[in-house]
Symmetry: C2
Subunit: 297 residues, 2 copies
């Protein structure tokens, strides 16, 4: 194995690393040592658990994106202010590392009004745009904190973050709905709930309790409840983001199953969209960021 550099996606809850040769993946590894679970002095050790076997005598570049660049992360990589290119600033060098690596962290993006921030998605966006000349439109990045990002002339013009995914996890896992929700899925229930929430988003808290009440009174399939919960939350989000996606060129970058759910909801509304694999986008974006370190090194 002839590892040329190491790509790292280091989020709040997970750490993923790839041994790279140019843009080819030679090996990969992951752990649950996300940023939130690592002490200030423990980042290099957490990473080395995954990558030590890839290291040689010559120092390898490590390019990391995600929450690892937050103040409480490995090195603080201050946000770039939009409008700007998704990776406009060279990654920040992590000081004092083991001599077998030269580690860099990609800065996130911030927006002043309305206040918003991202860390990690900017790298996926850069990777997505790298293979598309003059792509203007809107990118949706579904996840715990779903981002809607307006792209024009290679720049992130504006973006909005929705706590939809985190709300789904909390409501499905820790509210009274945990007694009713189950595995599985129901497309019709999802479509109906999405449409309902788009027209009456103010009813969210009542619709949620209604799921529990319907189950207690009539019995409901756990997968139907799961689909409805998702539909109520995503429907409200689509109502809020209508100016973003209506009549725009649209792309979804995310994990496959969640991207499919968003794609279904948007296609029901007549939107045209493409989906892109988030891991591929991350790797392509980290490659872009790597080029920036070499220009400035």
């Amino acid at each position: 194995m002839n590892t040329e550099w190491i790509a790292v996606d280091w989020g709040t809850s997970h750490l993923r690393a790839w041994a790279m040769q140019g843009d080819a993946v030679l090996d990969q590894a992951q752990s649950v040592k996300g940023m939130a679970r690592v002490d200030k002095g423990g980042f290099q050790a957490a990473l080395f658990e995954l990558i030590e076997g890839w290291l040689g005598t010559a120092p390898l570049e490590v390019i990391a994106c995600g929450m690892v660049g937050a103040r409480q992360g490995w090195v603080e990589a201050p946000y770039s202010a939009v409008p700007c290119e998704p990776t406009s600033v060279a990654p920040f060098r992590v000081p004092g590392t083991d001599p077998r690596i030269r580690a860099f962290v990609v800065p996130g993006l911030k927006q002043t009004a309305p206040p918003d921030i991202m860390r990690g998605e900017e790298t996926q966006i850069a990777g997505f745009l790298a293979s598309r000349q003059n792509w203007d439109g809107v990118i949706c990045l579904p996840g715990t904190h779903t981002k809607w990002v307006q792209i024009s002339a290679g720049e992130v013009v504006s973006f909005r973050t929705f706590m939809t995914g985190e709300m789904f996890d909390l409501l499905g896992g820790q509210s009274v709905l945990k007694h009713s929700i189950g595995e599985g899925w129901d497309d019709a229930a999802f479509a109906e709930a999405t449409a309902d929430a788009m027209s009456k988003p103010e009813q969210l808290a009542a619709r949620l309790f209604g799921l529990r009440a319907a189950d207690l009174l009539q019995g409901q399939d756990g997968g139907v409840i799961r689909a409805r919960l998702s539909g109520y939350l995503i429907g409200a989000e689509l109502a809020a983001t209508r100016p973003y996606w209506l009549g725009q060129q649209l792309a979804i970058i995310g994990a496959e199953s969640l991207s499919e759910v968003y794609a279904k909801a948007l296609q029901q509304q007549g939107a045209f969209l493409e989906t892109a694999n988030s891991t591929k986008c991350t790797l392509a974006g980290l490659q872009q960021a790597r080029n920036l370190t070499r220009q400035t090194a």
Copy 2:
């Protein structure tokens, strides 16, 4: 002490009991042995921890309301279907108790379309109406699961439950907002957030993340964030319940501090309302329920 009967409010998380002589409170006690924390066979023991000192040789009536009447409770007290009086059916006798008590559980209410349920609030409503002849209007009972209840000619005509309180607890205590929320309160921030959510309820998930982003970018007072979170959630609820409260005679029954928050939000919208003490309403309602057991005994 000459205890005549024992009033019990037995919710999901708490148990409260009062030694009563007519409508006068002689003594009170409480514990955290709510319905969800007691095994099927352990209800009498959990209650006796509080009331055993009040018991004599002659059997005392115990009248209980709340989740204790659920299927997994002390005895199942099946829901009455609305429209109906809030306590239209005699409480259900708990079989096989210690001979020093004769225990009864008040049934809850159910609504078929849209599906909804309550247990405990029906007793507060009965107590509220007991001292008001011919009161028609709408009662709001704020709490973990806030109820909006339409009253006409002494009957509960319809009601809706909102998961607003549970969402506030989950978002403030377990989402990414837990890092930003603090003690304290800010009336102006609450008013602004309420108005914003009433006009744009679909933006909820974005407004929530905006609280975190604003704190990270500019720093925010924890009490301001607390008030805004409350305002966003209650504002959406008020948008959904507008047909309930607009131009109606309105009463709020609940814990003092939460009732005040709802009263402020509604008064900002020009609503006229009275507030009633929830414990007093519960005791008056249990007294009503007790009269029903004696009529049918």
